[in-house]
Symmetry: D2
Subunit: 386 residues, 4 copies
């Protein structure tokens, strides 16, 4: 049977960027139906946004509190089952907690919360709720990123020795926040973003990608965190030396002042016998390198790839899938798990492979450790979660 989950959204009103991306991602595989939301803190704007999306005005709420109140008053078979939260960081924790406490599943944009303390609190709520929780670390949704993780896990490259991960952007090379760039404004505002700018916005993606592909856990960090553009209130650039448990080392580079760069996330992992390289600009290719034979180009949707890669593609080889498909993979995988839960089945390992609360907690610990290290004279700072 075809199951379509009832989805509500918090944030993502007119003028927002990532809300529309979430909606396309949710729609891509027909696993959700958007039924309403609290699209803005301004009730008028929320309603107008919802109506423009073709929604019932009665379910376009003026605040997320109203959303939960009114939805809980609906019969269970009409009520929202999943809540997407696409607000700035300071409005992540509270709606996520409320949703879980209402028995709803949650898809939450990254970074997970405003602080590590909130993250740990949210983790308790998730565990207690028994509900599904997905954090949208998009890049782990790419089939060739999943292939990279599978190859490392299979051991064919030998033990991992070195990880280079980078996330170069240039769009904050000037003081965009001084003009009327809304995306720049909240991302550089400590009251909305938290203690970190670039490290929270894109550094967490790079960190998550490094741990996801390598299968390793960062133990220590040694960071050079910069605020390059004069007058900016948060970091816009950072380079971090990494130590992983088990002895591997690495480098994480995330910057928003690399003028002329768009968004070419890239990771390289080297083991004893070979290495691999993936970059978003050539997202359907995974370079697999060997000590003594030719580099191989693994490609999306080819029969020789792992079940994890194949599960996350929709078209035959040679039909490029991109960012929206990677994003949709997260939505679809968590939907498959929710439906399996509803039907009393165990989800497949491929469906279960989406970023969740544990990744969110580590991401917040990354942010706080990065900023602390940037401010510290101590060379190596442990990444501790306690």
């Amino acid at each position: 049977m075809h199951y379509k989950l009832r989805l509500g959204m918090i944030g993502g009103g007119q003028g927002a960027f990532i809300g529309a991306v979430h909606r396309i991602a949710a729609r891509m595989d027909d696993a959700y139906e958007l039924v309403g939301g609290a699209f803005s803190g301004d009730p008028e704007r929320s309603r107008a946004s919802g109506v423009a999306l073709g929604l019932d005005p009665a379910r376009c709420y003026g605040s997320y509190r109203e959303l939960f109140d009114k939805e809980m008053a609906l019969p269970e078979d009409r009520r929202m089952q999943v809540i997407s939260i696409v607000t700035p960081n300071h409005v992540h924790f509270e709606p996520a907690r409320l949703a879980l406490e209402c028995g709803m599943h949650v898809v939450l944009d990254k970074p997970m919360t405003f602080s590590l303390a909130e993250a740990l609190e949210l983790q308790k709520t998730v565990v207690a709720s028994g509900r599904r929780f997905c954090l949208t670390h998009t890049y782990t949704g790419y089939p060739m990123v999943k292939e990279a993780r599978s190859l490392v896990a299979s051991g064919v490259l030998g033990a991992v020795r070195k990880v280079y991960v980078e996330y170069p952007q240039g769009w904050l090379s000037k003081s965009e926040e001084s003009g009327n760039n809304k995306q720049a404004a909240w991302r550089t505002d400590p009251h909305q973003s938290g203690i970190a700018g670039a490290m929270g916005d894109i550094g967490t993606h790079a960190f998550n990608l490094a741990e996801y592909v390598s299968g390793l856990t960062v133990s220590h960090m040694n960071a050079d965190i910069q605020t390059v553009v004069p007058g900016r209130r948060l970091d816009d650039d950072g380079s971090i030396l990494l130590r992983f448990k088990g002895g591997a080392s690495g480098v994480l580079m995330a910057t928003q002042i690399a003028a002329g760069e768009e968004n070419n996330v890239r990771i390289r992992v080297y083991g004893e016998k070979g290495g691999l390289e993936w970059q978003q600009n050539d997202a359907n290719t995974l370079q697999v390198k060997w000590l003594d034979r030719p580099t191989e180009l693994y490609r999306t949707a080819q029969a020789y790839t792992s079940s994890f890669a194949r599960h996350n593609t929709r078209t035959p080889g040679g039909h490029p899938e991109g960012y929206l498909e990677a994003f949709a993979n997260l939505y679809r995988n968590v939907a498959e798990c929710i439906v399996a839960d509803l039907e009393g089945r165990t989800p497949s390992p491929e469906s279960l492979d989406y970023p969740g609360i544990a990744e969110g907690v580590r991401g917040m610990a990354f942010i706080e450790t990065a900023i602390a290290s940037g401010r510290s004279d101590q060379k190596w700072i442990p990444l501790n979660i306690s």
Copy 2:
């Protein structure tokens, strides 16, 4: 107001490839709601396919004739408004004609019909119907292909002199049709495909892309058409010298026996002052080359691109969009035109830029001329439509 068009589908039942692609494309921008279809010639299979898609079984018809009969019996405000036809070529003309005669708009997979004669007949029907008709030449939906066309049209490259277009595939390097590969079976069957195999399946795409980007019209063709794999009943490879009206020349290469190639459609156009190159494997980049200054890399979603390119993208620069988004652009553009028609507005030039009946007629003329040229000792054969 948000307008969601009621969509029906003919073909695309379980096991098909392109039907699912059409459905994702139609869904991507929330401009359509799939309400039913005739998904298979086998009524049982059609119903099962529709139910698996979550559709009302009452609108999952056993044949396209039943579909039109029953839908026309519904009140106009419930009836399907748009019909997607995703069947093999021999089942294109009749359902398209019926749909148009029922006052429905049509989205039709390529090549348009079984023969040029059918195409010309369908053209009359389209014109008479006043309905929108879209032929899914996907590659013209890519933003950087639209940018290429815009640049040529702007004249900055000077008059076009040379066009190279190629569509290399390798998946038919062996006799796949002898096994149980359904995609291979119908494409190599003259009763389902028509007189052409590769020339119809992918040659038409290459031909359409060449005329679309160059803005020129092919006048003569000189073709070497091959059936390389023993026992195959239709062509699987062709190389064609092209002459365009106005004096430009070109080469079209389309093959399904280039072992190891996936689907890397590629076009290069050279004018008096510069040239450009686009390939699907790097779909978000357009190389623009100049006689005396550095090659430039135009990129999807950048502010410096034309309104045609920007209209056909959903995310900021650096978030790769792919095949499904290109396909969705066709669906969205025709939807915008239909809604504009419904609301009595003139569609924007950007919305109107989708492949239609004229392109379909030229595609069928291309196929028949290619096959005729391949069989002829005459060097140059005119591409005539009469």
Copy 3:
């Protein structure tokens, strides 16, 4: 023992391009010592050119006839042993014939002669002379081109089915010959170039590369030959459909009016089980493609490559070798053969692998067939050598 061959040069005076390239190539591996030459038809200019190269003025001759006269008067152990001929095409045959008749070995720039008739005459002279003759089809000197040929010959790709070869340039997009561009002037002058412009200058390279890599022999051609730039006296663009003995087919594209292109020679060959692709802009990589496993990137100087590839490189993997090294490989290989001859040894297969008189004759037959086909209404013209 170290053997350094005494080299003389005909052509290549001040202002020439290819003469300097030949000198670097000859010098690269210390196998030759340039001892003199007839660098120009103008005795003053010849002498000045030689002196600028640090040569003995007594051996800087005013004409190639003087060169042969005076050199033959020298004792054999001082006399030039090898003659490089780097003049325009109309001054190829006569000096080459004389050199061979003087018992000297010859390195000759392509295309080999002014006409096929001259080529066949020269072939007789070469055979009669027992001397080494090398035609500088540079691209076959690249290690990864040799690897491509080896892979095809090994049979791992199965029988060859399709060959695409292209040589796009843009430098003649305007009427350069109207200004004072010497390179353009002689190449577009039928009295110096012969019956062909682009087809002789670069088409022959593409043709040679196609036959060299595929191991096949072209049997028929179907050409569209153009003179695109108004007022030009010879062809500047051509596209040719190819048929090979044994049933393979192909396309050859050579143009000098592809505005914005430099010199990116490229070849693709497809067999039953896989294909390969090489292009000069990424000269140290050979893409090897497979029906059902990942594309492999073969790289210069890696241990897994053939003895033919390894013989033609000087540095470890990852140190890019380019055009001059490819050129030098021709010079070094023929030197190795000459020295082996002198020492009564049989040269190695790797040394013997340089383009010679047979390739030159085929190149001239290619030119005449291409031009004849371009002018003919007959679709397929046989490439005959008689």
Copy 4:
């Protein structure tokens, strides 16, 4: 007049790698004649090596001391004018000092000396000698690296903010030094290499490239230096955070355990208005990126490039030049300066642009600071030269 400098070589006997590279580089532009050398510490081997190169056995010396003694006994117009030193690091300082004291010019392989103390001592000798001194930091010899430096210096990118430089190799992923790999053996031996392995061998190249292209000076370093392969005696991997005078920051990555990597040196520099990227694997292209217009691909030998780039190329655009040509540019530039000195002319700025003693001193300071930082708990270590 053509001036050919008399060259002697120390090191580079049979079995060595870099000696042959130096000889080709010196020969490429006909500016040197190799007249003898001390090719090995073993007199027999030295003589055999020289004879195999076709040299006069009388000038193939058994030691570098013998070389200087005997050469100084020759008349000045026969005596070696330039000495190339291509020995392991522990045999750099003494022969270089002696050569300078004999009035000879020196071309020395990197890293310059065994220690910073030696480097400072050598600097005094160079200054006192008035002779030319070139350190073979090959990568600065590439035309597109020179173009990068020119563009930064021109100010079009604005003030530099960020520098990423990397030098990934994989050839020491296993304990090659345990077998009979001579190249691995000396490079991992502290008695021959000095205190550093990878940091001296390739880290210095990366450091030099960063300072050369950015035009900036590193002030502080924060290094993670690793010995990854068990049993190895020196570092084989390092990642270093950089601070430049004036406020820019950067990252340097150099490793010899990135399994599957060859030698793809790569640098990226970002200023306020744009950035640039160069990598050796695509050596003839420089990517120039802009905040608000398309990325440009600057190419070797194009008329729009700077005089520094054009001075360092030999062929027209589209004929790839590689590692050997870059190396030859160093030799040719220093030769041009020596000849200008001999002729009482001022060398051109383009000729003067070769790495010298100052770069060598900074390289040794880099090595000592990197190793000190790797061992230190102090986060930032100043790069001081005193």
